[in-house]
């Protein structure tokens, strides 16, 4: 009886955790290059079996949020009149140098800093194959392969990387991703004068939230019903 209470409570907690992730996605519907977080859940026995090597514990019922993940489908592309807005069409990420190391992003809203270095909105330098990219003339031109030109002078090619297994990436503030296992991307084209938006779809995200809300509600009802049964039992036993 009491075990059922915990099972319902685990369902409530899992739906709460999932809702947090959906809401954070929705809040980032206007964040350029944002990749929506996915979340999946699994039932307890599997996770306990995984924990206990060779000797599975048969405790039935209950659910937990098991893993996140990134939805890497492309976002909508907005055209601008700005030459410093770049989009990767296809698979790949821009590389920026942060104080903590190289980070990856689909957000191609760049600009020049006071030293004419190509940087992102946080001021982190955008990396080319040879290093940072300096555009002394202030006129950036990028061709489809990612070759950057300073006016008429070719400077460097943008470093575009891809991951064989996107699963190992984790998110950082500023639409940045960090992770290991990058390799040069080969299946992409660069579009200048446009940026890629967030891949969050408000309708789908709200639908997931509403669905989650009903599951949450069902778990609350299950909890209340068991509470009622215990109450009946106790009142009869205590007469």
């Amino acid at each position: 009886m009491l075990r059922g209470l915990y099972t319902a409570a685990s369902g409530i907690q899992a739906q709460t955790a999932k809702n947090d992730i959906y809401v954070a996605n929705l809040a980032n519907i206007s964040s350029a290059g944002y990749r929506r977080s996915q979340v999946s859940q699994e039932s307890f026995p599997q996770s306990l079996a995984a924990l206990d090597n060779g000797a599975p514990i048969q405790l039935r019922g209950g659910v937990t949020v098991s893993s996140g993940g990134l939805d890497l489908t492309p976002g909508p592309i907005t055209q601008t009149a700005n030459d410093f807005d770049l989009t990767i069409v296809g698979s790949g990420f821009f590389c920026v140098r942060t104080p903590a190391g190289i980070a990856f992003t689909r957000n191609g809203q760049f600009q020049l800093d006071a030293d004419s270095v190509l940087v992102n909105r946080d001021g982190y330098p955008v990396l080319g194959v040879k290093g940072i990219i300096r555009i002394a003339s202030g006129k950036l031109k990028v061709d489809e392969q990612g070759q950057a030109w300073d006016g008429d002078k070719p400077v460097d090619a943008l470093r575009i990387v891809d991951f064989s297994d996107g699963a190992n990436l984790s998110k950082q503030a500023g639409s940045l991703l960090v992770g290991t296992g990058s390799r040069p991307a080969d299946d992409y084209t660069i579009v200048q004068g446009a940026f890629e938006g967030s891949n969050v779809n408000a309708l789908l995200e709200l639908q997931r939230m509403m669905n989650g809300f009903r599951l949450y509600e069902a778990n609350v009802r299950a909890l209340q019903m068991q509470d009622d049964s215990i109450e009946t039992l106790l009142s009869q036993a205590l007469g």
């Binding site: 206007s30 990436l169 209340q224």
Partner: protein, 263 residues
């Protein structure tokens, strides 16, 4: 649960700032030399409840982990320095820059400010000043007996004095440009100030070193596109609405949780 409320609130605040910026762009649709702004958004920091790559069991790693985002924030309001449309006015003191660069004017506090608004006037001493009375830097003084003023593409100012037929050169307009014009500070009155982010002003003759040419009798209007702003406003409004729905769902969940224990 509380995370959801705050994430959604951050999303609503971000969209509010978006609408504020769009409204300012629309309000300046007829402001000469105005450059539209755009708000760029980013995700906030993440709370990792399970890090990717952490061990799940001996020899097994969590492949993706769980990271819960905490909402969105505005990363920057970027000025878009795309060329505005031109209006032919025929007024000899209306100047525009075709291409990169800013006119330099002296503010009352002695600082140099930069502007694309080229609707210049004459003050009582014959100095070329902006509509607010800030003189051009370096100053250009038109003699009182000048009959006509002509300003060349390279910024040379020549006048024909009364009783003369040949133009006489009296000054040179110089322009300034910046490594990062998006880093300039908005001072209002269509003026911009240099900052550490914009880099120091590089001055020069119009037409040289990447600077645009000056054209006389033409005004550069605002670069705000009404249709584009309207579309942005609709998107912002709908995103705001969606975030408010998220708050409602989170609130309903809290309400249910509060009512788990009955009577």
């Amino acid at each position: 649960m509380m995370r959801a409320l705050w994430s959604a609130a951050s999303g609503m605040m971000a969209q509010q700032l978006n609408v504020d910026t769009i409204a300012n762009n629309l309000a300046n649709v007829n402001t000469a030399g105005f450059k539209r702004q755009r708000v760029d958004f980013q995700d906030l920091m993440y709370q990792a409840t399970k890090l990717p790559g952490s061990p799940a069991a001996s020899g097994v790693e969590v492949p993706t982990g769980i990271q819960v985002g905490l909402g969105a924030r505005a990363a920057a309001t970027t000025k878009i320095f795309a060329q505005g449309t031109f209006q032919n006015t025929g007024n000899s003191l209306d100047l525009c820059i075709e291409g990169d660069g800013f006119f330099q004017v002296l503010r009352p506090n002695g600082d140099v400010a930069y502007t694309r608004a080229g609707a210049f006037k004459l003050d009582s001493n014959g100095n070329l000043v902006t509509s607010d009375g800030c003189p051009l830097e370096p100053p250009i003084t038109i003699p009182t007996d000048a009959e006509s003023i002509s300003i060349g593409g390279d910024g040379t100012v020549a006048v024909i004095l009364a009783g003369n037929t040949t133009p006489q050169e009296i000054g040179q307009i110089t322009l300034a440009r910046f490594a990062n014009p998006a880093g300039l500070l908005n001072l209002g009155h269509s003026l911009y100030g240099a900052t550490a982010a914009s880099g120091a002003a590089q001055t020069g003759t119009p037409g040289d070193g990447g600077l645009g040419q000056v054209a006389q009798g033409v005004l550069e209007l605002s670069n705000v596109e009404v249709v584009e702003e309207m579309v942005n406003m609709i998107t912002a409004q709908r995103a705001y609405e969606a975030n408010s729905q998220a708050i409602k769902i989170a609130d309903d969940m809290l309400q249910l949780a509060n009512n788990v224990r009955r009577g």
